[in-house]
Amino acid sequence: MSGIALWLAVALVGGAASLARYLVHGLVEPLARGRFPLGTLAVNVTGSLLLGVLVGAGVHGDAYLLAGTAAIGSYTTFSSWMLDSERLARDGRLGAVLVNLGASTGLGVGALLLGRAIAGG
């Protein structure tokens, strides 16, 4: 794929992945009834699983740039994870802050390793 077409594809895929994040977040977040930022956790863990599958399958080069960096990278979010944690802290829910930070990291790494193992990496 040529330079301009590739980067145009990166942008379009990133935009579509952002809509997917918004959709999944909106579907999952209400399940916790405002008690925990479950939507962000859901996109981040499912995205980590998918990225693990890509890596395990040996996807690299332009295909990785599009499917890994542009799609899954845009689908998952670090900034909302931080903002969610700040809100829990501001509400004085320090236990929930630690769970959000620790469980996200633990489940994220676990999901990535699981995906990589499934795909044979």
């Binding site: 980067w7 990166v10 942008a11 379009l12 895929v13 990133g14 935009g15 579509a16 992945a17 952002s18 809509l19 994040r21 918004y22 909106g26 579907l27 977040e29 209400p30 009834r33 405002g34 996109v43 981040n44 995205g47 980590s48 998918l50 990225l51 693990g52 890596v55 740039l65 890994g68 960096t69 542009a70 899954i72 990278g73 845009s74 689908y75 998952t76 979010t77 670090f78 900034s79 909302s80 994870w81 931080m82 903002l83 969610d84 944690s85 700040e86 809100r87 930070l101 996200s104 990291t105 994220g108 790494v109 999901a111 990535l112 390793l113 990589r116």
Partner: protein, 161 residues
């Protein structure tokens, strides 16, 4: 109880699910997502690191996105037409500029190539600096909004055209 009309996107109540799809909001998210993804992918390609090296590109975009997100939500909180700006800046740009999955992959690769020490340092530095960045952004947004309202007093409730 009446709902605040200008609720935060990231604090969307369950009732929002029943709301009709707002194509302008989705367009704003898509456009912001394009910009965020391009910026992150460009920096990742330009600053590619060897396995076991500190992932500077991801570290930088995540902190920048956390700062911008904190600023956007506190600055736009007081705005009457903040929905599309928030969709564009917060959900679109910040969401796509930052990434969680790549951090997870980098943690695994750092542990495999450089050991637990560097992997733990990267994870903890990302979280600590990310929290500091979002707090700084919130404070900057608050000051920006306060300065704007001093220059131009807010419209009285009900008086808006």
């Amino acid at each position: 109880m009446e709902r605040e009309p200008d609720v935060d996107l990231l604090e969307e109540p369950p009732a929002a699910l029943a709301a009709p799809v707002d194509s302008r909001e989705l367009g704003a998210i898509f456009l912001g997502g394009m910009i965020g993804a391009l910026a992150r992918a460009g920096l990742e390609e330009a600053l590619a690191v060897a396995p076991g090296g500190w992932p500077w590109a991801t570290f930088a975009v995540n902190l920048l996105a956390a700062l911008l997100l904190g600023f956007a939500v506190s600055w736009l909180r007081a705005k009457r037409h903040g929905l599309y700006a928030r969709a564009f800046l917060a959900t679109g740009i910040c969401g796509a500029l930052s990434t969680f999955s790549t951090v997870m992959l980098e943690l695994v690769r750092l542990q495999e190539h450089a050991g637990w020490g560097l992997a733990c340092a990267y994870g903890m530095a990302s979280i600590a600096a990310g929290m500091a960045a979002v707090l700084l952004g919130i404070e900057l947004g608050r000051r920006r909004a306060a300065a704007a309202s001093r220059r131009r007093p807010p419209v009285a409730p009900g008086a808006a055209g």
